[in-house]
């Protein structure tokens, strides 16, 4: 490792020691939504002041950190168990990637600084009838004189009840083949006709939402890319979910996550014996550590290869699939090792991932990774077809 990088690491470490709020996990467990939003916004601005909020953005918009440093940054944030950016996630990753890839200069000038100031975004892609088969979506955007009028229903929009804006996919040409009649719109969540209803999830939290859209006006300036070319734009946004964001999650799993699992296993049970002293527990822990080590290397590789344009067509899917199923195996084991005591943890800290150490909740929450963002089944099909070149399945009629 170069001296320059070592120095940067030392600087990030110092910053983390001074700025990661002590005891945030306990303080943020079971808090009301307003407190969660306040805490998230405050942490985002703290990171922003240090230049750590949007390191992946181009320099002219406040980023420009070389990938090698970003890797170090996320390693250290994970090692110091910093809060996750949950609310800002869609804005700084999906919205920014969309605007940078397909947005106009005007759209970038309008939205990127606002995201840095704390504007919250959500994603309006999935629908009740369009999950894995996203291209079958039925929400419509009808062209009017000065823009579009949107009608329909969106589902699984995470954080939508706090969102200011929405990345929306809607059908603008009902007669075109499914993927050629979709447009990509930026929608104001405060516009009349937008109705957000949180959905209670398996964990008891309500982070995902339904969005009902009833004659919602979206100005023409909110169209990203060409009309009816939204499917291609969406593929760029979905890609933003991978790479560095996966690396951050893998580092969290390998640092604070695995550390907490060891703590769980080192806690004496009712009979005084520690799970850790059971060879079978040791074996499972070593297997998990090995898999996490492999995952972290996969993520670093993906980031480095994506940076040089050498990533394979299925590399992101491999990482997403492996991470989600490994998270599930690890939290499953945590729940088993922790025993009944883990079931008394009724809440997990807000702003933490699904490796919080409240293992039963973490385990239930792990399906939040194996289902959305392309389910594990969809990822396996992508890996088989794009990664290995296996023949496609005949389409249904």
């Amino acid at each position: 490792m170069s001296d320059d990088l070592a120095e940067f690491r030392a600087g990030v470490r110092r910053w983390c020691r001074e700025h990661v709020p002590a005891g945030w996990r306990a303080a943020q467990t079971g808090v009301p939504d307003e407190e969660f939003v306040r805490f998230q916004q405050e942490w985002f601005q703290e990171l922003r002041r240090a230049g750590f909020a949007v390191p992946h953005w181009p320099a002219e918009w406040g980023g420009g950190m070389p990938p090698a440093r970003q890797i170090v940054l996320y390693q250290e944030l994970a090692a110091h168990d910093a809060p996750r950016l949950v609310l800002a996630f869609v804005g700084i990753h999906h919205a920014a990637a969309t605007l940078l890839a397909a947005g106009t200069g005007e759209q970038r000038r309008r939205h990127l600084p606002a995201i840095l100031d704390g504007e919250i975004w959500c994603q309006g892609f999935s629908e009740p009838g369009a999950g894995s088969d996203l291209a079958s979506l039925r929400t419509t955007a009808r062209r009017e004189r000065d823009g579009y009028v949107v009608n329909g229903q969106k589902l699984w929009a995470s954080g939508a009840m706090h969102a200011d804006r929405c990345l929306l996919l809607a059908r603008t040409d009902p007669d075109a083949p499914a993927r050629r009649g979709i447009s990509y719109l930026l929608m104001d969540m405060r516009a009349p006709g937008v109705d957000v209803r949180p959905i209670r999830q398996a964990t008891g939290e309500s982070h995902f939402c339904e969005i009902f859209l009833n004659d919602v006006a979206v100005p023409a300036a909110g169209l990203v890319g060409a009309e009816n070319a939204g499917w291609r734009v969406a593929r760029e946004t979905l890609g933003a979910e991978r790479g560095m964001t996966m690396l951050e999650l893998a580092e969290r799993l390998g640092n604070a996550g695995f550390r907490r699992l060891l703590e769980t296993c080192a806690r004496p049970g009712p009979g005084g014996e520690r799970p850790l002293d059971d060879p079978l527990v040791g074996d499972r822990l070593a297997m998990l550590e090995t898999e996490i080590t492999g995952l972290r290397a996969l993520c670093r590789d993906l980031v480095e290869r994506a940076g040089s344009g050498a990533a394979g067509p299925a590399d992101a899917s491999i990482v997403k699939l492996y991470y989600s199923e490994l998270l599930q195996r690890m939290t499953d084991f945590g729940a088993e090792a922790a025993g009944l005591a883990a079931h008394t943890e009724l809440r997990k800290p807000m702003s933490s991932g699904w490796e919080s150490g409240a293992w039963v909740l973490d385990f239930i929450g792990s399906w939040e990774w194996t289902i959305p963002g392309g389910s594990s089944e969809i990822q396996r099909t992508i890996i088989g077809e794009r990664g290995l070149g296996l023949p496609r399945e005949p389409r249904g009629t």
Binding site: M1, I71, V72, Q75, A78, A79, E251, G254, N255, F258, R259, L262, C265, A266, L276, D277, P279, G282, D283, L285, A286, M287, E289, T290, E291, T293, G294, L295, R296, A297, L298, R300, D301, A314, I318, L321, Y322, E377, Q379, R380, T381, I383, G384, E385, G387, L388, G389, L390, P391, R392, E393, P394
Partner: protein, 370 residues
């Protein structure tokens, strides 16, 4: 890895693949000297280059005493103090004229020495036994890790056929590998044939076990890649129900899982190889990286070769298809130089160490380097 080696890796890989694809073709003689220093007629390369050859040998399920001679024999000699006899043997390895075996027990490798020295009127007598020693039956010289009466770990360099030294073949189901049990029963060893390690002997013997385990992991990785490629090719052309079987989700998803597992194994093996080519013996990070690579890659290879047999259907179960060759080699690799469970036991010992006894567990890599 030095930058100038990356071209060498590509070239080595291409040549090896080409040569080994021809079936029974042997590894070129000069590759035995990859890690032999240049002044001794070798290539002066590192384990990273040896690993390229090993992976291709796994891919081709190739035969030959490469593990015994190049990985373990030359590896052991390289850790010894320079001496005329040692240097001469390294030269003969580099020229491909002499096959060597290191008598590490194949079951677990081990940290200690399976042989012991007892004082004799003229030098020493050697006693001890090591089972399942790779390539022992083909070796012209045998290197015996032994403990001297003063407790020092040394290597006894003995000629095959010497009085008091026995090598008994241990035939195994995997026809691509050869093992022998090495027994020393009063083998006479003069002072000149007892060689000492250059650095800490315990760390050196440990490093030899690491090399052995990592070599097998490289082999299993190459073998997995070959089985995945063959299965994907077959699933793309074999038709049932009027379409290629690879278009069925059950088959496609099984292949996807194979690719995911192989991708992870590749990263873990790469980390182990980096450790072995870039650190001195005794490095705890390399020790852990090797155990992870060995446990994971060798487990994956059995899954992948087994799945390859399954997805090739009835054809896969025939002798003629050859899938069984890879499956047997994968199953043998899994048991060779430490089972996955044994390596995970080694890893899990780190979790139980008290803060004063060697430091608590820390995520490897995250806090130090990438």
């Amino acid at each position: 890895m030095p930058a100038d080696f990356s071209d060498l890796h590509d070239e080595l890989r291409a040549v090896a693949r080409d040569l080994l694809a021809k079936g029974d073709a042997a590894v070129p003689a000069d590759w035995y000297g990859l890690e032999v220093p240049e002044p001794l007629d070798g290539a002066g390369a590192t384990f990273a280059e040896t690993a390229v050859v090993l992976r291709e040998m796994g891919r081709a399920a190739a035969r030959g005493p490469y593990l015994g001679t190049a990985v373990l024999g030359a590896g052991a000699l390289g850790l010894l103090e320079p001496a005329p006899g040692r240097d001469a043997l390294l030269r003969r390895i580099a020229s491909g004229e002499t096959a060597v075996a290191l008598a590490l027990p194949g079951e677990h490798g081990g940290d200690g020495a399976p042989f012991r020295l007892e004082p004799a009127p003229a030098g020493w007598r050697v006693h001890g036994r090591a089972e399942f020693v790779p390539d022992a039956t083909e070796a012209a010289r045998l290197l015996l890790p032994a403990r001297a009466p003063d407790g020092a770990l040394v290597i006894v360099d003995a000629g095959a056929g010497a009085a008091g030294l026995g090598v008994d073949a241990r035939p195994v189901l995997d026809a691509t590998r050869r093992f022998g049990d090495v027994t020393a029963d009063g083998l006479a060893a003069g002072e000149a044939s007892v060689r000492r390690f250059g650095g800490d002997p315990r760390a050196a013997v440990r490093r030899l076990s690491e090399r052995a385990a990592a070599a097998v992991a490289c082999d299993s990785l190459g073998l997995s890649e070959a089985m995945l490629d063959a299965t994907v090719a077959y699933a793309g052309v074999r038709e049932q129900f009027g379409r290629p079987i690879g278009s069925f989700q059950a088959v496609k998803h099984a292949c996807a899982d194979m690719l995911v597992q192989v991708s992870v194994a590749r990263r873990l093996v790469a980390a182990a190889v980096r450790g072995l080519s870039g650190t001195a013996p005794g490095d705890p990070g390399t020790d852990a990286a090797v155990s992870m690579a060995k446990a994971h890659a060798c487990g994956v290879a059995v899954d992948v070769a087994g799945k390859a047999m399954q997805l090739h259907g009835g054809m896969g179960y025939t002798w003629e298809s050859g899938v069984h060759v890879f499956l047997k080699r994968a199953v043998l690799n899994r048991s060779l130089f430490g089972s996955p469970a044994a390596h995970r036991r080694r890893l899990s010992e780190r979790y139980r160490r008290s803060p004063d006894g060697g430091g608590p567990w820390r995520a490897s890599g995250a806090l130090s380097t990438m």
